[in-house]
């Protein structure tokens, strides 16, 4: 099974839902349960919200969402061209946030809900988050 889609959107809060539903709909081709689809939606919401709040603090930048199904794996790549991350090690710590009122749990959620995730960033160039999720059902049959 192979499929691909690409969504480009403006970084405004009303578009978080668009990213979430498009991803969940794309993902539903695989054997995910409703709870797994919820986890995917939370991960995408957190990632897109990070782009809106952190990557583009001043204006509405562009967010790119790459969706791919390959060998029954769901691959999600979320890319911004925002301010970038100075210390990746630091932001990966749970409860770490560069914004006072924020919980700093977004990336921790992503870590716990996805099978793999990787953050790549360059100051003033932008940030790319790559996540992979495999249906639990499939993992069980493979074992």
């Amino acid at each position: 099974m192979h499929n691909k889609a690409h969504l480009t959107l403006l970084g405004k809060s009303s578009n978080v839902g668009l990213a979430r539903i498009t991803t969940a709909t794309f993902a539903s081709e695989l054997d995910f349960t409703l709870s797994e689809l919820e986890e995917i939606k939370v991960a995408v919401s957190e990632a897109v919200t990070n782009c809106i709040i952190h990557a583009y603090p001043m204006d509405e930048g562009i967010i790119e969402l790459d969706l791919e199904i390959e060998d029954c794996k769901l691959i999600i790549i979320i890319k911004d061209q925002g301010i970038g991350i100075k210390d990746i090690e630091a932001v990966l710590q749970p409860s770490y946030s560069t914004k006072e009122e924020h919980m700093g749990l977004g990336l921790a959620f992503i870590d716990s809900f996805m099978d793999e995730f990787k953050l790549i960033s360059e100051i003033d160039e932008g940030t790319t988050l790559r996540m992979i999720k495999i249906p639990e059902q499939l993992k069980n049959t493979v074992e």
Binding site: K41, I53, F109
Partner: protein
């Protein structure tokens, strides 16, 4: 025009689609039933097969009945 009317009567895409809420609750109900029967959570695919509604429409309906998640609020407390 007559033909369009006939087509709509036979396959009215609007009438066929039940209300979002109805679809969402039916999907959740089927999920529970299948879970009890097989003692593991069914996939959306299985729910869609049982319900006879496309997966994408179920995803849409389920999202529509959820409380909107606030952008600046953590999702789980």
């Amino acid at each position: 025009i007559g033909e369009i009317r006939r087509y709509l009567r036979d396959n009215n895409p609007i009438r066929v689609s039940r209300s979002l809420r109805d679809t969402a609750y039916k999907a959740l109900q089927i999920k529970e039933n299948l879970k009890n029967k097989n003692s593991e959570e069914p996939s959306l695919k299985e729910i869609a097969r049982e319900l006879g509604i496309p997966r994408s429409e179920i995803t849409y309906a389920l999202d529509a009945i959820q409380d909107p998640i606030s952008l600046f609020e953590p999702i789980y407390h």
